[in-house]
Symmetry: C2
Amino acid sequence: MNEIANTPSPPYYAVIFTSQRTKGDEGYGNTAVRMLELAAQQHGYLGVESAREDVGITVSYWADLESIKAWKQEMEHLAAQKQGQDIWYAAYKVRIAKVERDYDWPAQT
Amino acid sequence: MNEIANTPSPPYYAVIFTSQRTKGDEGYGNTAVRMLELAAQQHGYLGVESAREDVGITVSYWADLESIKAWKQEMEHLAAQKQGQDIWYAAYKVRIAKVERDYDWPAQT
């Protein structure tokens, strides 16, 4: 998760998850790592990028909307979403976006 | 830049800028702040979110593709892009995406 995601040529989808944490870890760190592992096993997963300062931004990349919907409904992920609302997040916003164009620097050959 | 962006109802556009920095500041911090100020003055600008750990992720939101193109060509921004390639960035990737759907928690009324 600590690199620029090596996604295929567009079109593909991005889920932009922007969040503000509550104070304290309360199990957040372990679950965050587990969710990144679990997401990477899902059908249609293309990659993820994540960073946190005042807000956290996690962008996950997916082949299509069906894959995004299936991941949102995955059982262990649903439990984590519930804990997120109960404990870890003060607020978050999710945006589902279709990547139409991308480019790299240095240019990828 | 330190909050979840209060964007309007979709559709709108997101520019996902993911980067890896070189070492040292070398004037990066001041220019980054200036670029956020300047972006906010552009036509079609809707908001920005930014965080950096191992990678930096800055997502800016725009009303349409024309506004994104105009911002990319803005003179002071062009100079900053040049310095970015010469000095500040080891690598970056830019993705232009159409936000089709979004939701908030707690739900916005």
